[in-house]
Symmetry: C2
């Protein structure tokens, strides 16, 4: 079961703009994180901001990301420096009667904190399991588990979801009174949807081999996990 | 016509990992930027990294983003500080015979530079036109153009695409020789696709009004613009 608690915004996670879009609700945070595949990790490297896309997984109020132990960005993030992790889902293009009121429907989560490198072997394996469950549910049970050499080459970082904010824009456009009264332009929403296509077997999979159910029957998660 | 030139990587835009994925080609950069809707802008605010999702548009080798003049992030970015803008498109989930070789097919563009606030009125209007052309092509001609009050409330920032890198992973999984020889797990790619749904007219659009062609006939751009 999900323990739902209000988000705990601090100065940097408190929205200064469009506060009406701040759905300060942990369930909304979980839904965004559980539906998307990629997060954007921001950190400061040699005094410059760097934004790196990467896969992730969530277990309760912990976010796990992984990377190569040889990556400079991963090494920097592992040192416990401040990071900002942002996940965005685009839900639609919002057409208004004025160009200025055009917008996008979206859901985004922003997490601030310090990432920690997971060194305990059991927790590291757990982190990889969480990542795998999120990105390719069923694969941990179906595919070969990581061996010692593979585990040594991967770095797993964890980040607390304590300091987080969620921003949502949904619904129809908001037009100015004069455009509502006198405008004739079309206004509305063009939905943007992410879908899975037909699975494509690798060339080395025997011809005619069935695609397993955890792939063939996979649907996009819109419900939060635990 | 697109003038195609090799990207000019510097130390921070040169990939240190997976160099084979670095498609150092300006056309690839344009394709990623022209297909996605949202970029993630990273900057340093009060010594912490901040990653903000926002819409954008590209004109040649200039990226335009906009935001409210009241936004702290926008004000910071407008001061000419270093920013990092990352755009990521997920193309598929890659299932391998080992958990460790699971991956994602994706295309990502990373741009480093200093954003500049566009103050010249004609260039500001041009930047908004570029943004509108990208996010909702046809809307500039169909909807009411921005008035003076609206123009004053929006900040337009420009960023040179000089220092950029593109990273692409595509194709089937790469498995270990022992898994190729002895593994029986399924391996392949589950494609991830972004599609438009059916347009939804706003409640204040007269019933029966036709959805204009620039919305009803819109397809996802996979070809670079100029």
């Amino acid at each position: 079961m999900t323990q739902s608690a209000p988000l705990s915004p601090t100065a940097r996670s408190t929205l200064t703009r469009k506060k009406d879009r701040a759905a300060q609700d942990r369930t909304a945070l979980y839904q965004v994180l559980d539906e998307a595949f990629v997060c954007h990790v921001g950190l400061v490297l040699h005094d410059s901001p760097v934004v790196v896309p990467t896969g992730y997984g969530r277990d309760g109020d912990t976010l796990y990301v992984h990377g190569s132990t040889g990556s400079g960005n991963v090494r920097q993030a592992a040192q416990g420096v401040d990071v900002c992790v942002t996940v965005t889902i685009v839900d639609g293009i919002v057409y208004a009667r004025s160009v200025n009121n055009h917008s996008m429907n979206y859901r985004s989560a922003v997490v601030h904190g310090r990432a920690h490198q997971v060194t305990d072997p059991a927790e590291k394996l757990h982190g990889l399991w969480v990542l795998t469950r999120h990105l390719s549910p069923g694969s941990w049970e179906h595919a070969r588990e990581p061996n010692a050499r593979e585990l040594a080459a991967v770095a797993v970082l964890s980040l607390d979801l304590t300091e987080a904010s969620v921003k949502v824009r949904s619904g129809e456009p908001v037009d100015e009174p004069e455009d509502l009264a006198h405008g004739t332009a079309w206004a509305g929403v063009l939905p943007v949807r992410t879908m899975f296509g037909e699975p494509e077997s690798a060339s080395y999979v025997p011809a005619g081999a069935a695609v397993p159910g955890h792939v063939a029957g996979r649907t996009l998660s819109r419900e939060p996990g635990r």
